[in-house]
Symmetry: C2
Subunit: 331 residues, 2 copies
Amino acid sequence: MPRDIRLVTETDLRRIIHLDLDIIDCIEAAFARLATEQVVMPPVLSMALPDVNAEVDIKTAYVPGLDGFAIKVSPGFFDNPSLGLASLNGLMVLLSARTGLVQAVFLDNGYLTDVRTAAAGAVAARHLAPGTVTTMGVLGTGVQARLQIIAAAKVKPVEKVLIWGRSARKAEKLATELRTALGVGVQAVPDRNELVAASQLVVTTTPAKEAILDAGCLHPGLHITAMGSDQEDKNELSPEILARADILVCDRTAQCERLGELRTALQSGLLGGSPDVVELGAVIAGQTAGRTRDDQITVCDLTGTGVQDTAIATLTFDRISKAQAGTLLTA
Amino acid sequence: MPRDIRLVTETDLRRIIHLDLDIIDCIEAAFARLATEQVVMPPVLSMALPDVNAEVDIKTAYVPGLDGFAIKVSPGFFDNPSLGLASLNGLMVLLSARTGLVQAVFLDNGYLTDVRTAAAGAVAARHLAPGTVTTMGVLGTGVQARLQIIAAAKVKPVEKVLIWGRSARKAEKLATELRTALGVGVQAVPDRNELVAASQLVVTTTPAKEAILDAGCLHPGLHITAMGSDQEDKNELSPEILARADILVCDRTAQCERLGELRTALQSGLLGGSPDVVELGAVIAGQTAGRTRDDQITVCDLTGTGVQDTAIATLTFDRISKAQAGTLLTA
């Protein structure tokens, strides 16, 4: 039986999908479903290609209640910049949750991943940061640094943003750009400990392989979201930070044990035999307490889940279909 | 940097890709590379969706020497027939092996899988069946029964084909169709043991969950390819058949231990502690002996590998590009 498949390029997606509150709410609802529904989310299929300095990750999740489910292919070819190409690319395929038929192919080169990753940061800020966040600090100067700031500003009335990067020039450039875009004070700072000291909400967005923050920077009323680590060799926070957190939250505990900050912390032994880790979805769904007092220290470890991909792909399909964007192919 | 992605429908693929000797040779070469090159082939990502009576498998393999690598998504939604839809669908994505960029999306609904699966049967027949195969027997009456016969006839001068199916009517229908198409004697038979007794080459293509052949049917000079089992609950051959084979061959041993005939045979204990299993690629590459005498009994367990998908996707991309078929999208 012939049917239409919608094929959508990155250009079309960037025109129609922006990081707005609806997307943040959509990602939040998806995390809640992870806690309350029989979500099927297999471990990430991760293929290392040392011959070509590359890796390919494939994520998927079936979420009851959503019309479709995404299969996301994320290739990272790290010699690409020498060819004038981006390292990260890829696409999402949306299948019908009822028939398995292909509904859409989003040739997004990772754009939807960028958006859903930043949206998860906003969800974590909404549920775990203290009631009042006047100052937000971000470590890193890449795409996620930029998007995490934009996302957090949609859920918290941030007055001031501090940015630290290994490259002071890049930090300054991002600060200048966002100052104009957000209309709040954005400042590049040279000392990351001072950044944390001044902030109620900190997001780490680096590809660091050794901790870039130590527990000495912790102070009452701080929330840290670490979203940089999504591989077995990455690490942004010292194990002591996770050990000293009053509430330690993961997007998916089993995945963070392999790919997130939780991995290093568990290896250190500082968390003890059965660490008290809760999942973000359980906090959202009210199954477990999140922050209960403004003076607590909370940490959220985000590695990126297939549930987010399925959520944003489903929302994107609705918007793109309504806009009649993309190319329809009868297959 | 904008670039073209080729999107190809099943209709276009069926017009340009047929099961010919070039494809069989291409699949054969891919198996050889599996033995001789540093192929990267992760375990199948398999997602069961009991809520909707479905499963989704994702396969991939990076094969040094090929320009691209495929990621194949195979959904099976087994209630689809009640909606007038096929159970099996899906697509293949071809990525550049040098940059990871998407080169093509083949919206094939499983067609390329059908072709590469049958081609593997022909490769097994070429390397493992006795020198002369005058009679071929096939168990099953579905798409693979049909294609396995067509494929084998391209590598062995078959004079007679016998078909057995649970449905005598379907067996008769397939026999009638192939008699005309192949121009050789094709006959539906009611007794599968008599079918095996009369054949030098047997291919089992059923979704059976319990053995449909016992060792009593074995005779000198017989080769059996079992290609029906690709899941943890399927089984076509009794463990005794594998135990009594002079040469036991797998497409990928580690995968057959989980998904193939080898699984049941190992569980039975009849193969002993360290069974003598060789891989098809090693036989093709001459690393290990295949059949050495016409009176040996050989068994080949095929579960389907990502290497085959990458091989046929690469060949398809070449042919489709030369034919300028499909739709080009700038992304």
